[in-house]
Amino acid sequence: MQEWIQLLIDGITIGGVYAVIALGYTLVYGVLRMINFAHGELFMMGAFTGYYTLNGFEKHSSLNDSVPVLTIAIAIVLGMVVAVTLALVMERIAYRPLRRAPRLAPLISAIGVSILLRNIMLRATNAQGKVYPKVFPRTAVEIGEIRLLYVQIFLIVLSFVFLGLLYLFIQRTKAGVAIRAVAEDRDTASLMGINVDRTIMTTFAVGAALAGAAGVVYGMFVTTATSGMGFIPGIKAFTAAVLGGIGSVPGAMAGGYFLGISEAISTKFFGAQYKDVVAFVLLVAVLIFRPWGLFGKREDKRA
């Protein structure tokens, strides 16, 4: 029983990360029908920003020890700022000129951006992973056999908070409704007076902010930032978005947790080395049998 609870907690931990990143995929896919292949790299850049910020505080002050809440908050905000800036630049330079290009062009361009960012960071860090300073005590809360790191609790809670905020943003704000309208029908949205270009930028920015924040927190959790760290979580998060029905915000959230928990449980049966295979098999199975997602309703394809 305790083992199962432990697996569940581990699954929720990583699932929250997937869910937060997945929102970026699902939102951008919604408005542009495009997989932003470089989205995982925004997460990675967030993690590096977190490292540089916290490391700066560590080197030049004792704030990490006295007010860790403040330094972590600053790191997260900076991670978001960096990711949003990058996302807006990539949208403007690499994607917007290709809105009317052949279908594969934006995808290749996104792959290019992904390779570019990964290798810039690889050079900038001389291929060395960056180890976060200890802002959280690496101790765990132990209940029976169940272990929960403090940073893990933080990560779980923060994921919930971000998901909640995003849900409110999409459902309740004018900008959120505009995003949903553009996702459904760009021309009609512009007839409503919605500035489509600006809405697309907002979409990128929102997705990037989430990815950047997730990067910082995830970096603290795994304690290292590397240039390749965005890739696998990126693909996983995309899988999560598909599991939930791409384009669907609640679906991406549910998909993230579902994938995280499935992976955690699968390690018990197949071992950790097959965790990625499990994710991909899930992805393939869902696309084949329920292409509208595990949680979505079937929708008849419109003519």
């Binding site: 495009m34 052949p102 062009a105 792959i111 290019g112 951006v113």
Partner: protein, 416 residues
């Protein structure tokens, strides 16, 4: 449209599409006579090449390569298909004799990737199926040869001849893998297909990595024997380069023949609009699987040659980067067009290698070993730049500029 001679050839260089459309019509008449003539294009190349002596042996690799690319580009864009191919073939055959081992290695890589590109082009360019897991077929070919022939698995059978037996076997195996992977994804389109095939590629790699008992896991397979041709061992990069080059010619010839046949027209219909194609009675299932199978077979063949060249294979050789490189060269070169694939391979595989020890030292900017350290940075930026400047690729296929409009994505469900 007709101007003075030089003007119209200049126009041809600036606007290939217009000329290709004419050249395409001519080539469309695929009578058997024309077929023989076209096969001739490929068959006479080695002879002409050896006779032709334009070896710039004293230029060094960088200049040679630059000249090669420029000449290629001009020739491929111009109307003179036959002449261009002959000159190209001559250079491709002759040049390696003037090179050192490192440079020959580069030529081998270019040719190998061109071969893979020709295979993937069948899937992506002809049938319009976006495949990001092409490495799976390459890996299955490479491991098949490695496992059958390497001494650590009991020495396999007669190493002298096994290569030529394994090669077709690997192609058949890869084709079967292609069909096996193709069946479940038949209903998927566009980006979804891309991600699922990417997943397949990763699954195959992870399996190879983890099935230690069968594949020796991450440690890899060593001492893979070289092929023999008669009694000569094809051991050096030049010999194996010629094997790949021959493979390229055969694959290119076969691929273009198929494209111009009934099958090719079916692919074109599927690429344009699958629903329309199937409502017109095209058996889309069969033709899509055929594209997967043919593309996979070529990839598998490439894997066997790679395995023989490297003498050792590791699971990490078969990661997503291979798939992305091949796809990128197909698309940057110009999808649906074998000439574009060749150009793409030269630029994407050759250029970074040639630039490996290139340095920039301007004022306070010191970038040493630009090629070695920054090649992937440049590669990423180049992908973006080419897509923005020429989204159809450098050498778009004839009659194809206005195609694959963003029609076949699944309707997403929005925030319900």
């Amino acid at each position: 449209m007709k101007g003075s001679g030089s003007l119209s050839s200049l126009r041809a260089a600036l606007d290939p599409g217009r000329y290709w459309s004419r050249a395409g019509e001519q080539l469309q008449t695929t009578t058997s006579g024309a077929a023989v003539a076209r096969f001739g294009q490929y068959a006479v190349l080695p002879l002409l090449a050896i006779a032709g002596g334009l070896g710039p042996s004293y230029f060094g690799i960088r200049w040679t390569f630059a000249i090669l690319v420029i000449v290629m580009y001009a020739l491929l864009r111009s109307r003179s298909g036959l002449f261009g191919m002959v000159v190209l073939g001559a250079m491709l055959v002759y040049l390696p004799h003037q090179m050192d081992t490192f440079e020959r290695g580069i030529m081998f890589d270019i040719a190998l990737y061109a071969l893979l590109g020709i295979g993937l082009n069948v899937v992506v360019g002809y049938a319009g199926l976006l495949d990001l897991g092409y490495v799976a077929f390459f890996a299955s070919g490479a491991y098949l040869y490695a496992l059958i022939s390497a001494p650590q698995f009991g020495g396999g059978f007669d190493v002298g001849t096994s290569f030529w037996i394994v090669l077709p076997m690997a192609m058949v195996l890869a084709a079967l893998v292609g069909i096996a992977l193709g069946v479940p994804v038949l209903r998927l389109r566009g980006d979804y297909l891309a991600i699922v095939t990417l997943g397949f590629g990763e699954i195959i790699r992870i399996m190879i990595n983890n099935q230690d008992g069968v594949t020796n896991g991450p440690v890899g397979v060593f001492a893979i024997p070289k092929p023999h041709f008669g009694s000569t061992e094809l051991s050096g990069p030049v010999e194996l380069y010629f094997v790949v080059l021959a493979g390229c010619f055969v694959a290119a010839f076969a691929a273009e023949r198929i494209r111009d046949s009934r099958v090719g027209r079916a692919w074109e219909a599927i690429r344009e609009d699958e629903d329309v194609a199937s409502s017109m009675g095209v058996n889309t299932t069969a033709y899509k699987l055929m594209a997967f199978a043919i593309g996979a077979a070529i990839g598998g063949g490439g894997g066997v040659i790679y395995s023989a060249k490297q003498s050792a294979v590791f699971p990490s050789d078969f990661n997503l980067d291979v798939s992305i490189n091949v796809l990128a060269l197909v698309i940057i070169g110009g999808m649906g067009n074998v000439r574009g694939v060749i150009l793409g391979a030269m630029l994407l595989i050759g250029l970074p290698e040639v630039l490996r020890d290139f340095s920039i030292n301007i004022a306070f900017i010191h970038l040493d070993n630009l090629g070695a350290d920054y090649r992937l940075v440049i590669f990423g930026a180049a992908l973006v730049a080419v897509m923005i400047l020429r989204p159809e690729g450098l050498l778009p296929a004839r009659r194809r500029q206005a195609q694959f409009e963003p029609a076949d994505v699944l309707e997403p469900e929005v925030a319900t």
